[in-house]
């Protein structure tokens, strides 16, 4: 039954993809329907009318668009149901599909871990499919055919779902690459602008390299076992060295997809150029699938995680990514690029917490390991929610203002009231403020880090608190970053014509999709127990250890370790907050004489404040840019136009700022240049002179004869 739901989700998304192909086939459908109606003239009055309506010239494309997304949404709902039921049932379902290699059919395994990520994907996909029709409506059918978009969206989603189902290396890689390739086409969707092409190329290249690393990782396991099924791989008895090699390969492969620094560069390139609902899926969900891969590989396949250095590596990589991600994010002015970098940050946090749990596992504290895993998965879940929300919001803004550059927005809070509220919720949860879901997982992360006392190893005991402090810094910077974002986009006065003219989006679906996510953000923030209960089953299956929190009042109190040590009760906090706010509000508003009066803001008496006098995003982040100057390659130019007598007084000042990621010049350009150089050298052997060629075969012959004898 559960399996039916799981397969149903895959098939439905696949079907939505195929249905999208019908976009250009209206004529054929029309003829077919005519024929059908002739065949049974007096049947299905209703179906007939529906058919005729939907096949009308003007209607057709719209109807189809909605149908496609409806299927997608259905698959999302199926995925949610499947995930929930498998996690509540706490069972493991296995199956085989008669495809694949002759001696190796596709093995399927659906357990709590898969179920949890199924849930994530399901929610995201549902929201996106609510949002989608309104968004893609803007595309011009001739330049950007919906058939392509819909097809690859469907393939993309089904690929992700299949990855979660896979239970042998071969099937896993097929699903994995299906996901990559489909998303590649989505990134390249608007391929007439070079940015997309470049991003798509980079993305596919890194996906390929990562996939190769993963294959090799499986290969290492496989060469110690018989066959590529995960069951066989689990049996593999590896020496520590080989286990470490496999781990490093997996980290490289999955990390490349998840986007940890410094192998993250495809992310900020690919996410901005993809259609917003796709970037939402990529950033919110696909990265999680990579995370799933890593967890599956490290916790499940490499049977006993005996090496705590793996955890240390994860912690360090995670910390670097978290800090780097948020610092880079802060300097971006392209909204979606910024969000992409902030995904890097969140993934970093998740990796860090995973590393913690790995260390606890290695030191024989399974319960704390479970705590860490819980924090990581919970944060993954939250990130999926609010990052989706933010990307969808960004999509709406782009849709309404034709702009992504936050430097030239402003004042939208009045023009787009609903969007602004939803976006605000997103910002609050991502900067992990209490009462929102982001905070809960951050809190759990801190709690995990604070358990370091149980460890014996002094180095770890001092390393982990430092990384925890880095986590704190990250959180604070994230808050600053998103204050900047929200302030620049929605507050103050409009900085450009577009944002002056902007208005709230009509399409209810787009708002509904975002509202769903926003609501979840808040709900989970208030009742985290719900999700924790689910994740416990995952931990139970992976580590054979759950948290004590599953007690009575689990929904009210959050006491992961013990009520003595730490506890947090969002509902009470919410109530208290409401009381406090209510009292002060009532008390101060009771006097009718003191209604608000509007006036011009203080302008130092010069008069004529213009929008250009507001703090811009660049200005907002300037202090941090000064303080962390080493983190970027900053190219700041100030040009002055002089005029007047002896060119003394300044007429105008031009300010240019380029900020670049260190990893480009340090890592990527050298590789590219190296390959080109090598290719040039290799090219020399083909001189074009036939006698030289004959010489080659002559020499080869002699050489090989010599080798033989």
């Amino acid at each position: 039954m559960i399996l039916v739901l799981a397969y149903g989700a895959v098939l439905l998304s696949f079907a939505s993809g195929l249905l999208a192909l019908m976009m250009n086939q209206r004529q054929i459908l029309l003829e077919f329907s005519q024929y059908w109606l002739k065949k049974f003239p007096d049947s299905y009055k209703l179906g007939r009318s529906v058919l005729e309506n939907s096949l009308q010239e003007g209607r057709y494309s719209n109807v189809l668009r909605h149908a496609v997304f409806m299927l997608l949404g259905l698959s999302g709902i199926f995925a949610v149901l499947a995930g929930l039921s498998v996690m509540l049932g706490r069972e493991i379902i296995t199956d085989q599909i008669g495809l694949g290699l002759p001696w190796l059919p596709w093995h399927v395994r659906f357990d709590s871990l898969s179920g949890f990520f199924y849930l994530i994907i399901g929610i995201a996909v549902t929201a996106v499919s609510l949002y989608g029709p309104g968004y893609v409506h803007a595309y011009d059918e001739n330049r950007h055919p919906f058939a392509v978009l819909g097809l690859f969206t469907g393939l993309f989603v089904s690929g992700m779902l299949l990855v979660l189902l896979a239970d042998d290396a071969f099937f896993f890689m097929i699903a994995w690459e299906l996901m990559s390739v489909a998303s590649y086409f989505l990134v390249a969707f608007q391929h007439e602008n070079p940015a997309n092409r470049h991003a798509a190329f980079l993305y596919l290249l890194m996906a390929e390299v990562g996939a190769l690393a993963i294959i090799l990782g499986f290969g290492v396991l496989a060469s110690f076992s018989d066959g590529f099924t995960f069951d066989a791989l689990r049996e593999a008895k590896l020496s520590t060295t080989w286990a470490s090699i496999a781990f490093v390969l997996a980290l490289l492969g999955f990390g490349m997809k998840a986007g940890i620094v410094p192998i993250h560069v495809w992310l900020p390139e690919a996410h901005p150029v993809a259609p917003s609902h796709i970037s939402a899926l990529m950033s919110g969900v696909m990265l999680k699938v990579a995370l799933y891969g890593l967890i599956r590989f490290c916790y499940d396949l490499i049977d006993t995680v005996h090496w705590q250095w793996g955890g240390v590596v994860l912690i360090i990589a995670g910390t670097v990514s978290a800090l780097g991600g948020i610092l880079y994010a802060m300097m971006q002015t392209n909204l979606k690029r910024l969000l992409a970098y902030s995904s890097v940050e969140n993934i970093g946090i998740i990796f860090m917490v995973l590393g913690l749990s790995m260390i606890f596992m290695a030191n024989g504290h399974p319960q704390l390991a479970a705590l860490g895993l819980l924090a990581a998965l919970f944060h993954a879940f939250n990130h999926a929610l609010f990052k989706n929300l933010l990307f969808l919001g960004a999509g709406i803004i782009q849709h309404q203002t034709r702009e992504l550059n936050i430097e030239i927005m402003g004042g939208l809070i009045k023009r787009m009231p609903h969007t602004s509220k939803l976006f605000l919720i997103g910002c609050m949860s991502i900067s992990s403020l209490p009462l929102f879901n982001g905070f809960v997982s951050e809190w759990l992360a801190f709690q995990t880090a604070l358990q370091v006392d149980v460890l014996d190893n002094g180095v770890l005991r001092s390393l982990i608190p430092v990384s925890a402090a880095a986590l704190a810094l990250t959180a604070a910077l994230a808050a600053a970053c998103f204050v900047n974002v929200f302030g620049m986009i929605f507050l103050g006065q409009p900085r450009s014509r577009h944002s002056e003219k902007a208005y709230e989006v009509e399409d209810k679906g787009m708002l509904a999709g975002s509202a769903l996510l926003a609501g979840l953000c808040f709900f989970i923030g208030i009742f985290p127990g719900v999700i924790i209960h689910l994740i416990n089953s995952v931990a139970g299956q992976l580590l054979g250890q759950t948290l004590p929190n599953d007690s009575a009042f689990g929904w009210l109190w959050l006491a992961p370790v013990s009520a003595e040590q730490a506890s947090y009760s969002p509902p009470l906090v919410l109530i208290a907050a409401l009381i406090a706010a209510g009292i002060s509000f009532w008390y101060l508003r009771r006097n009718p004489a003191t209604v608000m009066r509007r006036a011009e803001p203080w302008d130092c008496g010069f008069g004529g404040l213009t929008p250009r006098m507001q703090y811009s995003s660049r200005a907002f982040t300037m202090p941090l840019r000064r303080i962390f100057a080493k983190a970027w390659i900053i190219d700041e130019r100030i040009g002055k136009d002089m005029q007047g007598a002896m060119n003394q007084d300044v007429a105008a000042i031009h300010y240019q700022l380029q900020i670049q990621d260190h990893s480009w010049p340090r890592l990527y350009q050298p590789i590219a240049q190296g390959i080109n150089k090598l290719a040039k050298q290799v090219g020399r052997i083909q001189t074009g002179n036939i006698r030289v060629y004959l010489g080659y075969s002559f020499v080869t012959l002699l050489f090989m004869l010599w080798v033989i004898s």
Binding site: R597, P601, Y615, F620
Partner: protein, 314 residues
Amino acid sequence: MSWLIAILQTLLFVALAPLLAGWLKWCKCCLQNRKAPSLFQPYRDLIKLTKKQPVVAGHASWLFTIAPYIIFSATVLAATVVPLIAVDLPTSASADVIVMVGFFAFARFFLALAGLDIGTAFGGMGSSREMTISSLAEPAMLMAIFTLTMTASTTNLSVAISHVLNEGLVLRPSFVFALFALMLVAIAETGRVPVDNPVTHLELTMIHEAMILEYSGRHLALIEWASQLKLMLYGVLVANIFFPWGIAETFSLQTLGLGLLVILGKLAVLAIFLAVSETLVAKMRMFRVQEYLGFAYLLGLLGMLSHIILETSR
């Protein structure tokens, strides 16, 4: 019973905050040979402000008008967490120290947004600087707090405090470091000299004031009150974490009364220290703040390490 005490304690917090501010001002005046206003001047200011009609910047949005309420109640929530006169109260169980930091972040978030909302240069400048400083201060503060929580192996403030209380007078090097770190952070977070100067209105030097420049009437009152409350909170943190003696562990009238008196005493002393330092030290440049906070972070780190290496090394 305990709930009642908790609520009373919170009210006490809210009520006493302006008094502390007044006392601080009084001390400074005395140190600077100025004629001091009465201790209750802050109360008068607040009342006056609530009576006034609030004026709001022309194109400020709803966010600007509700921000004060949010800021105030967030700070009050933080106050519920910190034990003032008695430990093991249910409220401090419902939210631990990390959550308290979260509340501060919450208030700050909206304060900064409000600063940006009015769409003038000052607001933006203020929010930018505020976010910068706070994002540097937060790790330092957490380092300091972690030292404590790892000693007491809990993040629940009242449990931690009673733990310190029960183990009696133990000289912990880590605590010394943590204490100084926390003090430095407190000064930065509450916007005192040398990081920020609450009394100045010289545009280019102000941080906190720049953000609330457009506020008036009851809004201003709320924000002022919130910042006084914040000052007191930090004071109580420093006082009760590191010198918890005298705080009530049982809910009898005299213990509570004693606790109240003791804490008043501690705060008074702290305020004097603060006043002296503010009189002696000059405000530092914006871009030297990172060194200041870096030092605070370093102290916190040292505290942490000394806790790990010196105190519980195995």
